[in-house]
């Protein structure tokens, strides 16, 4: 990041390559459809061009990206006056531009039911679970700070979200 701040374009490209999955899942976790999420991802990286000077701590970058993405996603929702599709998006309605057709990937009824249940979770749970999926890349502590959660409450909250997911899934499949 230090090299990127000094105008090294290749270093900036490496940051984009490494951290775009994080920005993507934060945008999607905020309830944006895939097309809008893509615009937001690019907007966040363009915004970083402006703010790179002010990020003194390389470690703060992931947190800045998460916070900025959430703010931008909210702004887009607000501007759109609620016409941007929110979390109601179900597996059946994912855009046809998806790289993986559902009938190939959702091989089993269980997968379909679980994915459907996932989209019925609260926005906060979807966001938290997506972010903890990425925990290998973005540190847990960073996730906690960006979500304004005490570090120690991530685990218990994740547990509650998983319980909710289990209930929704069981209700869905009727078992």
């Amino acid at each position: 990041m230090v090299a990127a701040r000094n105008g090294d374009r290749e270093a900036f490209d490496v940051l984009v390559a490494d951290l775009t999955p994080l920005v993507w899942h934060v945008a999607r976790g905020s309830g944006l459809d895939r097309t809008t999420a893509e615009d937001v991802v690019q907007t966040v990286w363009l915004a970083l061009l402006r703010h790179l000077d002010r990020l003194t701590e390389p470690r703060a970058l992931a947190g800045w990206l998460i916070t900025t993405t959430r703010r931008e996603a909210n702004r887009v929702h607000h501007r759109a006056g609620g016409t941007v599709e929110l979390s109601a998006e179900m597996a059946e309605q994912t855009p046809t531009t998806d790289p993986s057709p559902e009938h190939e990937v959702l091989r089993t009824e269980r997968d379909r039911a679980l994915w459907s249940a996932f989209h019925q979770l609260s926005q906060r749970c979807q966001e938290l679970l997506r972010l903890t999926v990425l925990a290998g890349r973005a540190e847990y502590r960073t996730v906690a700070e960006a979500l304004h959660m005490p570090h120690g409450s991530i685990g218990p909250t994740r547990g509650r979200c998983l319980n909710n997911l289990r209930s929704l899934y069981n209700g869905d499949s009727g078992s």
Binding site: V16, V41, Q42, T43, T83, L114, L129
Partner: protein, 154 residues
């Protein structure tokens, strides 16, 4: 009482579904790298990032059909009409409030085309290659305030 192991197993399934069913779109990294590779970027340029209006018509454009798309930031609104001309395309634009602002259309791997809007805020670019496209507006033809869009596939 659920065990941690059950949570971990469910979490692994969620991770698999999220990664397989909702990965970043192919090419998003490359399109983003193109979008941020702005030549005239220096510390004295006030960069403003525009937002594409109404993603639904835009989605149609992205599906390959020419049409009108709009972007805006602050008080600036720019309408862009895209017409196919053989392998290339013609871009008719109209920016409001009107002014003789510089307009640049960057197309990935095809360089860029530059023009200046007339007093009425209208501009035309012909023979623009198709591809991942980004628009820039340099307000009042000065470099001090530059409006830039996310890319759009035209």
């Amino acid at each position: 009482m659920r065990t941690n192991q059950a949570d971990d197993e469910l979490m692994a399934e969620v991770a698999r579904l999220v990664n397989v069913l909702d990965p970043p779109p192919p090419g998003l990294v490359e399109r983003t790298q193109f979008a941020v590779a702005l030549d005239d970027l220096d510390r004295h340029v006030e960069l403003e990032i525009a937002q594409w209006a109404d993603t639904r018509p835009l989605a149609g454009v992205r599906g390959g059909l020419p049409g009108t798309i709009t972007f805006f930031v602050g008080d600036l609104t720019v309408m862009v009409n895209v017409t196919r001309t053989g392998e290339r395309q013609r871009i008719d634009g109209w920016l409001v409030p009107a002014g003789a602002h510089g307009v640049e259309v960057r197309v990935a791997e095809h360089g860029s085309a530059v023009t200046t809007a007339d007093e009425g805020g209208r501009f035309v670019l012909t023979e623009v290659p198709r591809g991942t496209t980004q628009l820039l507006v340099r307000m009042n033809a000065e470099q001090s305030r530059t409006v830039v869009t996310p890319t759009v596939d035209l």
